[in-house]
Symmetry: C2
Subunit: 396 residues, 2 copies
């Protein structure tokens, strides 16, 4: 018997039919003898509906009250899923963030979990109940309702799994696992059966959307094995844990498309500091052509010009379509020259390259995106013998 | 400066525009220097929408989970109203039943308030906040979400007013006060400026819908003056308190239409006991024609035959349309013969009559309803000199 925390997102609970399908899925795990805690999001569309009501009253609604409003979305889902489980003869009890005891700081709309109480949920599990928990929400020390911001339900699931020392935290999503690269771009992309936390963190940080960065980091920190599964299809999915890497190549290629290159006549340090304050995640590098009057290039989403200009006056768009490819794998950072060269050899320009732990990132022309990902993926993930200067890792 | 508790029902907060109008109404009271606690219901239609979702899953949804679901309706309203007040420059804080500290028993879907904590709301009022509270909901001793059943938001408002020793509990509704009888039936019906708690209780018990019986009883018990006001129009409304009656006649005529007469071949005591178990509120009387084989007549809503037959087999419908008129006023119970006679003189048959404290109830043919109410209302409320055997009460 294992203790599983299963998380289903908004699309997975987007209609009554899908909530019933989730109930069946949960019951499968129960029938295999497992204890189950289910974490759910608001039904797809519900958060936007509520936000629409708020915006009719105030373009910038009070943050505290927005959390009171939005947290009802998950509360509706937990009630409906618990009903669906009860209807099928299974004892199930829903808990709001407050009822379970999810404590957060007071950053409304983007709170961080500070503590997860285990008493209520443990007592229910001991009485053989399936526990259905509202994701995305908690309470601060003053008993104000808070919400966690993007990917909040994943974070809730991982935090509960950590607090309960669960055997696995299963994230059900619309894909059937973590892929070596975006399968919509590269048909050769393959599902990984396992991936190391450090590689998953790197993939998430550099554009892979299957898991939220924060929840992967939290899971690693609390040593909670994560499994990514499809809500709609059977399968083993991808296990994210600390196992030895099972491939001798790189783990995968993360992609950030829809980026643009901006330029501002200010020194790099100042630009990085300002962007940090604005919360913009951007790759910046100095313009080496301008020794006397320092200037900085900024790679950011291709619709960020207006926002950049708020704090960095006279920012200019210099390239409307660029993309960042990041090859992720243990020790790969030593091969950046070789990785970049593999594209230039094919006539694709690499504007900039950067190595960080387990990562080589390349800034390229957006029009070359698909060709470049296909090539890097084939050469370093599928046929990694080309990485001739690296020791081969053991194949499990 | 007075402390007011204002309650707005589902129709009053049924759209964003109406929520904005409620905000303006609340601000009026605030501008007059009053402290205000606002209690709101779910937006009109929302409870039915949620119930519809639940019924798609289970025709008889788990009662606990139904309360988790339905309580989101009021939570949406409090957030939106607090936003609307904030937007207008007023400090306002929303509180769910749990956050305020509304304690109830564990009768899901029909809970009773056992305690109202005052600490949180008092602290907010002292900081000059308008407090916006979710009606209809509370928590039991195990921290389960409960809802209060019909008229629950009125009860919440009255309970909070009682706990805070508020100066007035103002119930905003779609009519502008308590009328001497149903104005849709009788054009002569007049708004009362004041009515005694005991008369209001009798009116509510016998069919007046403007206030829920439980909340009137609760207000009387906790000595909370109630005021019924229109959400949509200015005016003084009707004050319900312990003042001397301001009219020398009866207070009014309560009406229960859409009733039917049923008959079952069982003794009166047994029938009353069984109906009590089913929670059916019905007027019962023995069939005096049947000395040997006792039978009982039951007056109940005209669509109750199926439900009656569940516990009282072979109940028969004997009269598909009857109505109950109840004349309410201090000492009126001594005049039942005179009241009944006033109808029979006009050729209207009185099937049965009954006197209880401050009440004379008459069972009549449903087709005579309007004529009978008009006549009784004119004779005993508008021109009460006809009550010649009663001492006249002081006119205020």
């Amino acid at each position: 018997m294992a203790l599983l925390v299963q998380k289903f997102g908004g699309t997975s609970v987007g209609s009554i039919e899908r909530i019933e399908a989730v109930a069946e899925r949960v019951i499968q795990a129960r029938q295999r003898g497992h204890q189950v805690v289910v974490v759910v999001s608001a039904m797809a569309g519900e958060t936007n509906r509520l936000l629409g009501l708020a915006k009719q009253i105030d373009a910038v609604p009070t943050q505290r009250e927005l959390d009171v409003l939005l947290s009802t979305g998950e509360q509706v889902t937990i009630a409906l899923l618990a009903m669906a489980l009860n209807k099928r003869g299974y004892q199930a009890t829903s808990l709001t963030g407050e009822q379970l005891g999810i404590r957060t700081d007071t950053v409304f709309n983007n709170a961080t979990i500070t503590e997860v109480e285990t008493e209520v949920v443990t007592e229910l599990l001991e009485r053989d109940h399936i526990v259905v928990v509202a994701g995305f929400q908690g309470r601060d020390s003053q008993n104000n309702i808070t919400t966690l911001g993007r990917g909040g339900s994943d974070t809730t699931a991982v935090a509960i799994a950590g607090a309960l020392a669960a055997d696995e935290c299963q994230i059900f999503t619309d894909v059937d696992g973590v892929y070596t690269t975006d399968p919509r771009l590269v048909s050769e992309a393959a599902r990984l059966s396992t991936i190391h936390f450090d590689d998953m963190t790197a993939m998430a940080r550099h554009g892979a959307k299957v898991l939220q960065l924060q929840s992967v980091e939290y899971a690693e920190q609390h040593q909670v094995p994560l499994r990514v599964l499809s809500s709609f299809a059977e399968g083993e999915g991808t296990l994210v844990d600390f196992s030895t890497v099972s491939s001798h190549g790189a783990a995968g290629v993360a992609v950030k498309g829809r980026q643009a290159l901006y330029r501002v006549a200010q020194p790099l340090e100042k630009v990085e500091q300002q962007l940090g304050l604005l919360g913009v995640d951007a790759w910046c590098y100095g313009d080496s052509q301008q020794a006397t009057y320092p200037a900085t290039y900024i790679v950011a989403a291709d619709d960020e010009l207006a926002r950049l200009n708020v704090i960095l006056e006279k920012t200019e768009l210099t390239q409307p379509s660029v993309a960042i490819l990041t090859l992720v794998g243990e020790g790969i950072e030593g091969d950046s020259t070789q990785v970049a060269a593999s594209l230039t050899e094919k006539g694709m320009r690499v504007y900039q390259q950067k190595s960080t732990a387990r990562c080589v990132s390349l800034l390229i022309n957006g029009q070359h995106l698909q060709l470049a990902v296909e090539h890097i993926h084939k050469k370093f993930v599928v046929e990694p013998e080309s990485l001739d200067n690296r020791p081969l890792l053991a194949v499990s």
